[in-house]
């Protein structure tokens, strides 16, 4: 099949057939910040952090779900994009209760990393301080909704890789929550296989291993990539 040729940040690059703009950029060593995207899982375009400018389109496009087209001219790092990304990050921080210094994922958090890379030094919006619960009824894992950014990685990994579909999304807008089974305490969720893929996939401290103390929760999202790639290659098939 023919490769796609497009321009990213003024440079002519080629992308694999069927690649998204995000994949095309990564294939060519161009970094676009992401949060909800995780290699090995389907893409949903939920976080909007990967927005890019496409010449001829007045609207910004999420790179993770935009196909790389022949002759496309894409910009990934403009003042406008930086402004939007900062605002998206600040909205995420303001929406729930992200307190990095005492978080189990401090130092190993993708939200924290993105904020640092974006140079975010304060939040211009009023913090919402919602009163959200922590569920540690599961024997091995816990979920703290205060730290959830609704990226839905847990939902996708549980459904697409584990095949359990324990996780899902309930509610709308600011009332949206990830839930286990039909909104039962995690410890009562009969569909959960306790595989821990959700904890590895979570970008923040929202899903963690029981007993984790400050900064101890290191997510291994590379394992998700590994499992997914091995399955795609049928490495474990007879």
């Amino acid at each position: 099949m023919k490769v796609t040729t497009l321009t990213i940040n003024g440079e002519l690059v080629s992308a694999s057939p069927g690649a998204t703009v995000l994949e095309a950029a990564r294939e060519n060593g161009i970094r676009i910040p992401t949060l909800c995207a995780l290699e090995g899982l389907s893409t949903v375009g939920a976080c909007r952090l990967c927005l890019v400018e496409v010449k001829g389109s007045p609207r910004l496009q999420p790179a993770c779900v935009t196909a790389a087209d022949e002759g496309m001219e894409v910009s990934t790092d403009t003042d406008r994009l930086r402004r939007y990304r900062s605002m998206i990050l600040e909205l995420l921080f303001a929406e729930r209760n992200h307190v990095c210094p005492v978080c189990v994922a401090n130092g190993h958090c993708e939200l924290q990393d993105r904020a640092r890379q974006a140079g975010m030094d304060h939040v211009r919006l009023p913090y919402q301080h919602p009163d959200l619960p922590v569920d540690i009824t599961h024997a091995r894992f816990g979920v703290d909704h205060n730290r959830c950014i609704l990226c839905t990685r847990c939902i996708r990994v549980c459904d697409e890789l584990e095949g359990a579909h324990t996780w899902d999304l309930a509610g709308r807008g600011t009332n949206a929550r990830v839930i286990t089974d039909l909104n039962q305490p995690w410890g009562d969720a009969v569909s959960c296989t306790s595989c821990g893929k959700c904890a590895e996939a979570c970008p923040t401290g929202a899903i963690f291993k029981q007993g984790s103390t400050v900064g101890e929760m290191e997510h291994r999202s590379d394992r998700i990539r590994f499992i997914s790639a091995a399955r795609a290659r049928k490495e474990w098939s007879p």
């Binding site: 210094p101 540690i136 984790s212 103390t213």
Partner: protein
């Protein structure tokens, strides 16, 4: 306060950790009718920890304070041990002890050299613009440098164990996260001789100059009170574990061998509308008669011996200043602090030779085996209690923290009143007299659950109000 009285306000109180003000209530004759030490900051940790997993508590409560995070870290981890119902590995116990010694050294050095030495060495009446650690550097560079080096040593002990000097989240329910590395151990050992020299010289210096402060020693919080703190089972000095002991002003031991988990049998707490700090008191004597003091002065009064030779010699000399009675002047908190620095450096030296410190068995794993737990240790400023209740999964339901400074609250208020009555006799009040009232509080080294370091550069505003609220006199220190 009498109806036509005046109120004099010292706000903020400088060179202590946190935010506070002092009000002096004068009657019509200009005599001090009452005096209060108000803690004006509100933190709310007991409330917002509710709903958090137990495991996060050491990390969260360590954030109460930037000076003594280790004290909260350890008390919280111990409350966690109690809820897990585990005996932590012996190496973890020793490592925690070593960190607490580092904490005592750095905090005591800060109190003595950075905060109080300007009063003691430059003089209570010296120029307020220079009566701070920078003025001390200019006038007594060697002493200032020594103080900074000693504090640095304490901080390095903390860093070597916890990975960082401030807010390490290293102690956890069940033990600690990592042992000491061989390299760190050697580095710390190399610094011991200098630390001990500085501690001994500071004690010598204090003994030499304390004669100049005989009036202050009498007027700044010299009164009978109870003393409370931890001692070892056989009555020795203790800083991390042990049993609770209470002594009266005559030196009689009125409670002993009390399991720290039973602290509620000894202590109750009162609340006053004019301060965010609670007022703990000795339950049997009621409020406010049950006022007791904690911290270095209390610990040296309570214990029968120090664990190391130089410190024991220093303790004996300290106790001789009061004959066979306990030392009751709060001014001698400074003295007791210096004795404790020597004890901490000596004890750290012994611990650093223990091969257990390098053991990798430092963390006991367990689930929630009790729904309540108490952790008690000696913070630099005194006995610290963390008392948690959790649900069956380990989510925090209730938190009670009794901090050392709170336990000294009644005594600090009495100190302010005593100092004010001694130094304020009419409408015009020299600045140095106000500084002495502040120094009375500083002797306790109160840590007002602080995140702010306030010292001599902060402005001090004193306003003398008339009976109708009119300003009679005003002094401002820039």
């Amino acid at each position: 306060m009498t109806k036509k009285g005046r109120i004099l306000t010292i706000d903020p109180v400088t060179r202590l950790e946190g935010h506070a003000k002092i009000t002096l209530h004068l009657d019509d004759d200009g005599q001090v009718a009452d005096a209060r030490f108000h803690v004006t900051e509100f933190r709310g940790f007991e409330k917002f920890c509710e709903g958090r997993p137990l495991w996060e508590m050491p990390g969260i409560t360590g954030r109460i304070c930037g000076i003594c995070p280790v004290s909260h870290l350890l008390a919280s981890a111990k409350a966690g041990d109690d809820i897990l119902a585990v005996a932590i590995p012996p190496a973890a116990d020793k490592l925690r002890r070593l960190m607490n010694l580092g904490q005592i050294i750095q905090s005591h050095a800060l109190s003595f050299f950075h905060l109080s030495a300007p009063d003691l060495l430059l003089g209570m009446d010296s120029d307020p613009a220079k009566r701070n650690v920078f003025g001390l550097m200019a006038a007594e560079p060697k002493i200032a440098r020594d103080g900074i080096r000693l504090r640095q040593f304490g901080q390095e002990v903390i860093e070597a164990l916890g990975g960082k000097k401030i807010h390490p989240s290293w102690a956890v329910p069940g033990g600690v996260r990592a042992p000491l590395s061989e390299e760190s151990r050697e580095r710390l050992k190399a610094r011991l001789p200098e630390a001990l020299r500085i501690a001994e010289e500071a004690l010598e210096l204090f003994r030499k100059i304390s004669g100049r402060f005989s009036e202050e020693a009498d007027a700044l919080g010299n009164f009978p009170s109870l003393f409370l703190g931890l001692v070892t089972r056989d009555g020795g000095w203790e800083h991390y574990d042990g049993v609770l002991r209470v002594m009266d002003a005559e030196g009689a031991i009125i409670a002993d061998q009390v399991d720290p988990r039973e602290y509620r049998t000894l202590i109750a707490e009162a609340v006053e509308p004019w301060s965010y700090l609670k007022f703990p008191y000795y339950r049997k004597h009621g409020y406010p008669d049950g006022a007791y003091r904690v911290g270095p002065l209390a610990r040296l009064n309570l214990c029968e011996r120090m664990p190391t030779p130089l410190a024991e010699e220093a303790r004996r000399e300290f106790r001789r200043t009061a004959g066979d009675k306990p030392v009751t002047s709060s001014f001698f908190y400074h003295y007791a602090r210096l004795v404790e620095i020597i004890a901490s450096v000596e004890t750290a030296a012994t611990l650093l030779d223990d091969p257990d410190l390098l053991s990798s068995h430092v963390r006991a794993e367990a689930g929630i085996n009790r729904t309540s737990g108490v952790g008690v240790s000696e913070a630099p400023r005194g006995t610290l209690f963390h008392d948690y209740q959790v649900d069956e999964h380990g989510l925090i339901l209730k938190v009670n923290l009794i901090i050392a400074t709170g336990q000294n609250n009644l005594a600090m208020n009495r100190t302010v009143l005593q100092a004010a009555r001694h130094y304020i006799r009419n409408r015009k009040i020299p600045e140095g007299f106000l500084n002495r009232i502040e120094a009375g509080v500083r002797a306790f080294d109160p840590c007002l659950s602080c995140s702010t370091h306030a010292f001599g550069q902060m402005p001090l505003q004193v306003v003398l109000f008339g009976p109708e609220g009119e300003t009679l006199d005003e002094r401002t220190r820039e």
